[in-house]
């Protein structure tokens, strides 16, 4: 596609449920990043993928969070047993490859609300 696509755009769920957030990067982009943005806050790094490998999972807040990526395409961020503090916008970005000299292209995010 033309840009990074994320789905769903909004998700409301009850505390304790599991949720899956999807990111479809720009075609040909090998690097994919997940960020969390709480209301009025900055971008908190969660995890990145180079291809389908995740060399750095250090930003995942707890073992309730996991992510996977198939090949160099779609990635899924899964949050198990959701808590109210998980409420945030989850942003995905992609870039041609890994590197500090690569611009990141962001999707519109998934707004997650935990009741």
């Amino acid at each position: 596609g033309a840009g990074v696509s994320q789905s769903p755009s909004n998700k409301v769920t009850e505390k304790g449920k599991d949720v899956e957030l999807r990111c479809d990067p720009i075609s040909g982009h090998t690097a994919l990043y997940w960020y969390r943005q709480r209301l009025g806050q900055g971008l908190e790094f969660l995890i990145y993928f180079q291809g389908n490998s995740a060399p750095d999972k250090s930003g995942l807040p707890s073992d309730r969070f996991s992510a996977e990526r198939t090949g160099e395409s779609v990635s899924t961020l899964t949050i198990q047993r959701t808590q109210q503090e998980d409420s945030a916008v989850y942003l995905c970005a992609s870039s041609p490859w890994i590197g500090g000299n690569q611009p990141q292209h962001f999707g519109d995010g998934t707004r997650l609300s935990i009741l």
């Binding site: 990074v4 990043y33 960020y35 806050q41 900055g42 971008l43 908190e44 790094f45 990145y48 180079q50 060399p55 750095d56 942003l91 970005a93 890994i98 590197g99 500090g100 000299n101 690569q102 611009p103 990141q104 292209h105 962001f106 999707g107 519109d108 995010g109």
Partner: protein, 111 residues
């Protein structure tokens, strides 16, 4: 290792200039600048690499002082469309695989 941005917020009148600063306690390889409008995705503005670069993008430019581990974003003759939150993201010399974002600077332009 999160970069520190200053100021946290600024209000300007259309046509005035603004400077947003980003500083790190670690040696930097790169500095990214992004703008995010309310309810929208962050949009890439520019990347500066080590070597003391300066870059320009219309009336928005930036500098990178590698020795001081600082970058500044300059917005001249600001327009209403410049309103939003500006984030810097820093890539470390020994971790050239991801960038860490600052908390952002909120810029509001008044007509």
């Amino acid at each position: 290792q999160q970069p520190v941005q200053s100021p946290q917020a600024v209000i300007l009148r259309e046509g005035e200039d603004a400077v947003i600063n980003c500083s790190s306690s670690k040696a930097l390889y790169s500095v990214h600048w992004y703008r995010q409008k309310h309810g929208e995705a962050p949009v890439f503005l520019m990347i500066l690499l080590k070597g003391g670069e300066q870059k320009g993008h219309d009336k928005i430019s930036a500098s990178f002082n590698e020795k001081k581990q600082q970058s500044s974003l300059y917005l001249t003759a600001s327009q209403l469309s410049y309103s939003g939150t500006y984030f810097c993201g820093t890539g470390l010399m020994n971790r050239d695989d991801k960038i860490i974002f600052g908390k952002g600077t909120r810029l509001h332009i008044l007509p």
